[in-house]
């Protein structure tokens, strides 16, 4: 059901007339804002006199015999929201009334529980709404979007949670925060997105690369966080959420306040803080897993139907401890850790965060302006700046003790121009251009070899998207996008590494200096990326819907895939990039079936994703250093197939009881080696029963059962290593996935009316009710410790 807003441009052509009571005439015309065509049969209701008239075939209307005075007219049309206009009538008058006929649904005016619409028509997209985000206020983005079937996460402990969409993560997923593509060094598994979910009103998860207005390289998917729609009415409202989590003795506070004026001006802000100490597995504390997180955002601007602008600022600073026992010196330490049932460090609870830890801040500033042109559409310009500063602290000695081992500053400037043309009736056209400049600075004062080199990067993109309402029941879309990426880096290589990589043959021309045992090189790469997305949405009848989407996308290798060279401590391995890597290309076919009835809601998303030159880390042997022998993992490429099915089923038994079943399965295959792909999520079944009773202060309760199977399809990259202290060789089992596990969770909440107009929501949740010990295949710390045990959350939410 589409809503329209009626916006009215008023031009009163006044003819001076001799004051005459109750003989005045008000005539006018109702027109479509977009193409100027007359709107036939619009209802004009004169509230003051309680009389009706309608517009004729030319859109004209006429009201006679009016007295001088103020009249309220309400103009409406089928499927349009009624709009009231006030007119101070002194003379005979003529008005042209522009009604907004086909509307961008995202602009829908709604005061509470804003309606949210999808970004794509034929893409596999799921929207997470505000109430779910609020109920999980202390969670990370990665944990919240696991709500969507087919979405999982790859973790380094509990705080560093990276979204995985249909088996793909990191650089293959594009995250948009209020229209800004997040640029935050997301290339490694232990770099989580720097984003606070509390400022978002909705989170859209699009599987695959069908959102071409944002990027051409989202091979895995796109995550879009949208703030609340601004209502053009006089209103002041706010919300405060406070929570306590028993596991980690954590607490979180988040407060937001919004003021809107009926003139169209608005401002709102959001401030949050959360902290926890060491988390606890059922049998022991996970030492040094504390975290602190400060976040805030501010948004202000002016909004009307025809024009508007906005400034937006957001800041987040996170300090994250990393499990102490996961920091190891060599392969023998890793063998010790894997073979030990419990972590080798086991101390009492503490809030203190020691090395190893990460301290990451992210600033985002955005300015946006838009105008609508009659008989054309909407044009938007946007500029944004992002500053991402990442410190990583290692266990160091002497004077370097408090010095960061990684100190990277990534700054990004982006501009974007976008036009949406909606005058073409059944067709919607969206096109635009974007430019981005990025500068990465790796501070040499760390005294540690740069993990990621200094570089500058330019991106230029252009896109064109056509959406066609072919018939009442059939929607088609087609989009193309082109992106040019240019990266210019300065990178030091040890001469020994340079030769071992064979670069002296292929890249001798990029050496610009020789310093001691190192070469200074200047690698420059240009990539051309071309993307297509097209599909059909067939609305068979009111119950059944079928969607098909094909998308072609490509992703250039990221700095870590190109330039890595060195020891990775938590993984006890040497990771090597490859300057020869090219872009990876994905051809993804998605087919969905949706069923909707009073009792059932079913969504089945199936996909086939063929990724050519898929870049992944693969072990190629061992190297001796004076810490011992280390396995060497090299970024390499293969052709890969990812095939999967995600299902979501809701069943409403009656008004009070409903059920939900979510499940997903993915089959990932490395075609070059005929092996399963590494790090593919295992089969998952997530079921819940809900009970709700409005009469008991909107009481809701749910019991949730999650089954995660053991991943039986994995490549065996185990190897043997010499253990000097025992003078023996031992197997380093880094590949075998942990066994299947079952978790039960419970949640209940009630809402009370408090004070005059406020509402207080009280929520209690128990995660992992039976305090089950388990390890998850996609958690990098599974070698070292169990996952977290039982956690009880109490949360208060006050809306005012």
């Amino acid at each position: 059901m589409k809503h329209c807003i009626a916006t009215i441009a008023v031009f009163i052509i006044g003819f001076s007339a001799i004051g005459q009571t109750c003989k005045l005439n008000l005539s006018g015309k109702v027109q479509d804002f977009h193409n100027g065509e007359p709107i036939v049969n619009a209802t004009i209701y004169n509230k003051t006199t309680d009389s009706y008239t309608t517009s004729d075939l030319e859109g004209n209307f006429n009201i006679n015999d009016l007295c001088k005075g103020v009249y309220q007219l309400s103009i409406s049309h089928i499927s349009c929201e009624t709009k009231v206009v006030e007119i101070d009538l002194q003379d005979d008058s003529y008005k042209v009334v522009y009604l907004e006929h086909h509307v961008e649904e995202l602009e829908t005016v709604n005061v509470e529980g804003a309606s949210v619409s999808k970004e794509t028509d034929t893409g596999q997209e799921t929207i997470i709404r505000k109430d779910y985000i609020d109920n999980n206020s202390s969670a990370s983005l990665g944990d919240v979007i696991k709500q969507v079937s087919g979405v999982s996460s790859i973790n380094t402990g509990n705080e560093i949670v990276k979204p995985v969409i249909n088996g793909l993560h990191s650089s293959r997923i594009v995250i948009l925060n209020n229209g800004v593509r997040l640029e935050n060094q997301e290339w490694g598994i232990e770099h989580a997105p720097n984003i606070d979910i509390n400022s978002a009103n909705s989170i859209s998860v699009i599987k695959g690369s069908s959102a071409l207005a944002y990027s051409s390289d989202a091979i895995g998917g796109t995550i879009i966080l949208e703030p609340k729609n601004i209502a053009i009415i006089d209103t002041l409202f706010g919300k405060t959420i406070m929570g306590y989590q028993s596991n980690g003795r954590g607490f979180n506070v988040n407060s937001s306040l919004a003021k809107n004026f009926d003139s169209g001006w608005y401002l709102n802000g959001n401030l949050g803080y959360k902290q926890n100490g060491d988390l606890k597995a059922p049998d022991y504390y996970l030492n040094n897993t504390g975290a602190k997180n400060l976040s805030g955002s501010f948004q202000s601007g002016y909004k009307s139907f025809e024009k508007g602008f906005e400034v937006y600022l957001s800041y987040i600073d996170s300090e994250l401890g990393i499990l102490s026992s996961s920091h190891i010196g060599n392969t023998a330490d890793l063998v010790n850790a894997i073979n030990s049932d419990e972590p080798l460090i086991n101390e009492p609870f503490s809030y203190t965060i020691n090395a190893p830890k990460q301290d990451v801040s992210h600033l985002l500033a955005k300015a946006k302006g838009y105008m609508r042109f009659k008989s054309f559409g909407k044009v938007t310009f946007q500029y944004d700046y992002q500053n991402n500063h990442r410190y990583e602290f290692d266990k160091r000695v002497g004077n370097d003790r408090d010095k960061a081992a990684v100190d990277l500053r990534l700054q990004t400037h982006s501009i974007k121009g976008d036009a949406k043309v909606d005058k073409l009736g059944r067709y919607l056209i969206n096109f635009g251009v974007s430019g981005r400049f990025q500068d990465n600075f790796a501070n040499p004062d760390t005294g540690v070899k740069r993990l990621i080199p200094d570089y500058t990067k330019y991106d230029l993109g252009a896109y064109f998207i056509l959406k066609a309402n072919i018939s009442e029941r059939l929607i088609g879309d087609f989009g193309v996008r082109y992106d040019l990426n240019h990266i210019d880096a300065y990178k030091y290589y040890y001469k020994s590494r340079w030769e071992e990589r064979g670069y002296d043959d292929d890249f001798s021309d990029i050496i610009i200096d020789e310093v001691g045992i190192q070469y200074l090189t200047n690698p420059v790469f240009t990539f051309n990326n071309f993307a297509i997305s097209t599909g059909l949405l067939f609305d068979i009848n009111e119950n059944h819907e079928i969607k098909f989407n094909y998308s072609l996308s490509s992703r250039p290798p990221n700095p870590s895939e190109l330039f890595s060279d060195g020891l990775h401590h938590s993984a006890a391995r040497i990771e090597l990039g490859d300057l020869r890597l090219g872009k990876e290309t994905s051809n993804r076919f998605g087919l969905s079936y949706l069923f909707n009835s009073n009792k059932f809601n079913i969504t089945l998303d199936s996909y086939f994703n063929r990724v050519n030159d898929f870049i992944f880390l693969k072990p190629i042997g061992t190297e001796e250093t004076n810490r011992g022998a280390f396995p060497v993992w090299e970024y390499t490429k293969t052709d890969a197939n990812l095939i999967g099915l995600d299902a979501n089923i809701d069943y409403y038994l009656n008004k009070a009881i409903s059920f939900n079943v979510k499940t997903s399965y993915i089959h990932g295959q490395n075609l070059d080696e005929d092996l399963p792909l590494i790090d593919m999520p295992s089969f998952r079944l997530d079921t819940a029963v809900f009970y709700s009773k409005k009469e008991w202060n909107t009481f809701n309760a749910s019991l949730n059962y999650v089954f995660v199977a053991e991943q039986n399809r994995y490549p065996d990259y185990n190897f043997e290593t010499y253990i000097p202290t025992t003078d023996s060789y031992e197997l380093v089992d880094i590949s075998t996935p942990p066994p299947a596990y079952n978790l039960f969770n419970f949640q209940a909440d009630m809402t009370f009316d408090v004070f005059k107009k406020s509402k207080l929501n009280v929520l209690a949740r128990v995660d992992n009710i039976f305090n089950t010990s388990y390890r998850e295949y996609l958690n990098r710390l599974r070698y070292f410790a169990d996952d977290t045990g039982r956690n009880i959350t109490i949360q208060l939410q006050l809306n005012y």
Partner: protein, 194 residues
């Protein structure tokens, strides 16, 4: 609104100019000399009462680069002899080379050197102590076995950062329960006592 669009345009232009000028002074960054890498570990054994020193040395000048460490054993130990051993750690990537032994000494509570000797070549006892009275292992005594013929074995020397010195056997030099993180480890093989 118009003034806003002007402001936006101005911002964009300024940004472009800034970006371009940034590009102009795009000078290469300075190199990083790895600061606390231990490239070189030398254990010098001096026989009490005179004789030839035995020096065990490992040197890896490209750190975690692909070249393996160069390991040298200066010669055999004499049978039934008491040696005084001293350990030195250097970072030769810095110029002049940085002596990391001093840092290990100063942070003795958080470090311990372990000596694992196979084939009963001899026994190692610690001569130094940290503030808690536990060994550090920079200064040791090595008593070789009494043997008529030459015996070969290995000596593995490990420097651990943040070991649990209170765990069973650790202060006696048994690495099994030490935990912590390995800073450097080398197995010298074969070491001969004759």
């Amino acid at each position: 609104m118009k003034s806003f669009l002007k402001l936006l345009t101005l911002l964009l232009i300024t940004n472009l100019i800034v970006s371009c000028s940034n590009d102009d002074d795009n000078t290469p960054p300075p190199p990083v000399n790895e600061e606390e890498v231990i490239t070189t570990m030398t254990i010098t054994f001096m026989p009490q009462g005179g004789g030839t020193d035995v020096v065990l040395k490992t040197q890896d000048l490209d750190g975690d680069g692909p070249n393996p460490p160069v390991v040298t054993i200066s010669g055999p130990f004499a049978s039934n002899t008491t040696y005084t051993g001293s350990v030195e750690f250097l970072n030769e990537l810095e110029d002049p080379a940085e002596d990391i032994t001093e840092e290990v000494q100063a942070e003795g509570l958080e470090h311990q050197v372990f000596f694992t000797v196979t084939n009963s070549l001899g026994t190692v006892t610690y001569n130094d102590m940290d503030a808690d009275g536990n060994p550090i292992g920079l200064d040791i005594t090595f008593q070789t076995i009494d043997t008529g013929s030459a015996v070969d074995g290995d000596i593995t020397v490990t420097l651990r950062h943040e070991p649990n010195k209170d765990a069973a056997g650790v202060s006696d030099g048994d690495i099994t329960n030490a935990g912590g993180e390995t800073d450097i480890e080398e197995t010298f093989t074969p070491v001969t006592v004759e």
